[in-house]
Assembly symmetry: C2
Homo-oligomer: 199 residues x 2
Amino acid sequence: MSDDSKSSRDRLVDAMESLLWERGYADTSPKDVLKRAQVGQGSMYHFFSGKHELAVEAIRQNVRRAFGGHELLEGTGSPMDRVERCLRYPRQGVRGCRVGRMTQDPQVFDDPDMIGLIAGAFEGQLSLWEKVIRQAVDARELPAGINPSDLARTISAVIQGGYVLARAAHAQEPMDRAIEGLIGLLEAVRIDRVPDFPR
Amino acid sequence: MSDDSKSSRDRLVDAMESLLWERGYADTSPKDVLKRAQVGQGSMYHFFSGKHELAVEAIRQNVRRAFGGHELLEGTGSPMDRVERCLRYPRQGVRGCRVGRMTQDPQVFDDPDMIGLIAGAFEGQLSLWEKVIRQAVDARELPAGINPSDLARTISAVIQGGYVLARAAHAQEPMDRAIEGLIGLLEAVRIDRVPDFPR
DNA sequence: GTCTATAGACGGATAGAC
DNA sequence: GTCTATCCGTCTATAGAC
């Protein structure tokens, strides 16, 4: 992260990236960034116009890191298997979502550059979910009455809300159970399986 | 809110309450609070030891206001009707949840007093959801295989995550659709109705 | 109770030497 | 490119008059 082999510029972006996740934009000062990056004050203002420009770059990198991997949703298995696999992918709830948490920071929310990156990341993620759900409906794993676009947002919301519940409780459990609850519903509507319970 | 008929103390709590919602703890200064409350500096330090104590009081009031009304979940109608009614209760997604947003603020997250109030609020809310879902299962509106405790967390997460999606998009729509997606799943597993689609 | 004045530290940014 | 010195404003809290 603050790898000596990296350039000062990269170290600054890495430091800002982690601080945005841990403390948010408003509560992160240039001084904090410099300290974590092990870089002098002049360097930061050499590469960036200031805190804002560095944060934009860090969010860009953050978004790539968080929502970059599409393997889970586009890999092997039936559409619903992929959905469940991706839902069960381990997420550290108490740490919060490095992308979602930014939406709560008013200075990020009000800034077109920063919120634009966040919005784009969610749009990309949502279209992936929507695509695999549509495949599940086409494959008759889900009933035709399901709205893939809505359900994609439901799934994304459960994950994001799971982070919120986990942080409120200082525990992973609420998030895992929120996701299990969703999987329970998905299993119950899945039409290629005999339900475990009487209908 | 900054009603002249209220005491300075109440005005301070009201002002801090709204600022915590709009800007969070870290980015709200005593000066901001005093300005909004139309109160001088001395008054605040007369009633409270400082920013922290005032914020604790404001969060206490905030939590009461946000999660106080249990009418929707405990009113008339079948359990599932109440669930859907409460889910469709209008929420201003772009503004975010005044309780959930606090979990992202590290200074709140790390403070036992403040996070304790937030955690308690969620626990109360979750037990209400759990209760009505259990009633729905008992009334055979939902299959016996449903885990009420998990599903309660799923529902709460969809609402919280809906706020996140709405703020990311600067639009109400994603939140409403996330909730509609959840209702769609709930309707699909509901056993007292003939599904609209072939199974 | 409420006010103004003040304190000490930190915020974010600039200047200019090397 | 990187450093130190410096600037002005704000943050949080205290002091003390009224």
